[in-house]
């Protein structure tokens, strides 16, 4: 089987047929492989895992998150920025939303909803 066709078959089998990049597939498989090994599902080559059908999109990899140290520091920076942003906007958002007369008139009862 030539490489493009093999790639297409693999993409279809693991449910990401819309993905066209070999690098993207490789990263995807790496993530799945590492997660599968870490949760003790199996060990082996990428090809074996694909043949075993172990590379489903859900939820095995989701059971354990695998984050590299560089990714983790990137996420830490994002979390720190989120904290700052949340604290900065919290007062203003409260002031803005307080202007909406949201509780003045109760939502009417709709026949049959109860």
């Amino acid at each position: 089987m030539d490489e493009p066709r093999a790639l297409r078959v693999v993409l279809e089998r693991i449910g990401i047929a819309g993905t066209s990049s070999v690098q993207e597939l490789d990263q995807y498989v790496e993530r799945k492989l590492r997660a599968l090994i870490d949760v003790g599902v199996t060990s082996g080559s990428k090809a074996q895992l694909i043949d075993l059908g172990a590379l489903s999109k859900e939820p095995v990899a989701a059971a354990q998150d695998v984050v590299s140290p560089s990714d983790e520091s990137r996420l830490e920076a994002a979390r720190a920025r989120w904290k700052q942003d949340f604290a900065a906007r919290s007062g203003t958002v409260a002031a803005v939303l307080a202007r909406f007369p949201v509780d003045d008139v109760p939502t009417p009862r709709v026949e049959g909803d109860d």
């Binding site: 989701a62 996420l75 994002a78 949340f86 919290s90 958002v93 803005v96 509780d103 109760p106 909803d113």
Partner: protein, 217 residues
């Protein structure tokens, strides 16, 4: 964090209450109806109607003239109450938005963009921190509220759920603002350049001024 994001739930049900085993309804891929139920030998059974090649529901149901019951794919998972206080007091509907772990997103760039609020359908929530409750972090991992999955429960079903933790007032208002962003679509920036003079505008201030016009407006 100077502004608390979580608090313990009040005695009274409040918007922002978080429950552990609330139903998250998945998107329907097909519309399958539950037919009349039968009870025999302590078992309840019902026909499924509307499955391709099998019995269809009644004409009245198909024409929208009669109510039906549907088979809805779902999971019991963390959820947050969106329903406002007034509707909690006066109505029986309770809207729960799905709270999903950030780890479901595999790509670090996607996780980062969710944390930074770049997706108008997803609202980031950190791992729980509660003053005086050191184990709160074990409740759930950092997550996102997914506005695409909102389930409406009757008060009776909601009242059977345990409210484990709740959003602080600041977090709840922030969540409501995010919900507004979700309905509007584009990301609401805190600052944006004026299209005319290119000066930086405080967007939240503009909105506040808009909602509180000057007396001579």
């Amino acid at each position: 964090m100077t502004t608390e994001f979580y608090k313990l739930p009040d005695d009274k049900v409040r918007p922002g209450d978080i429950v552990a085993l609330g139903p998250t309804f998945r998107a329907l891929k097909e519309v399958i109806h539950v037919g009349p139920q039968q009870v025999s030998k302590q078992q309840i059974s019902a026909k499924l109607l509307g499955v391709s090649g099998f019995e269809q529901p009644s004409k009245a149901v198909l024409e929208g003239k009669s109510d039906t019951k549907l088979v809805v794919p779902a999971a019991l998972d963390w959820g947050v109450l969106l329903t406002r206080g007034c509707d909690i007091d006066n109505g029986v509907q309770r809207q729960i938005a799905a709270l999903r772990p950030l780890r479901l997103l595999q790509d670090v760039a996607v996780k980062e963009s969710v944390i930074l609020g770049k997706h108008s359908s997803l609202y980031y929530v950190p791992k729980p921190e509660l003053v005086g409750v050191p184990t709160a972090g074990a409740l759930f991992d950092e997550s996102f509220i997914d506005f695409r999955f909102v389930a409406t429960l009757h008060r009776d079903a909601w009242d059977r759920l345990t409210r484990v933790v709740s959003l602080s007032r600041a977090a709840l208002l922030d969540l409501y603002f995010a919900w507004m962003k979700h309905t509007i679509g584009p990301q609401a920036q805190r600052k944006a350049p004026c299209p005319a003079c290119n000066a930086e505008i405080e967007m939240f201030q503009v909105v506040e001024d808009f909602l509180r016009p000057q007396p001579d407006y």
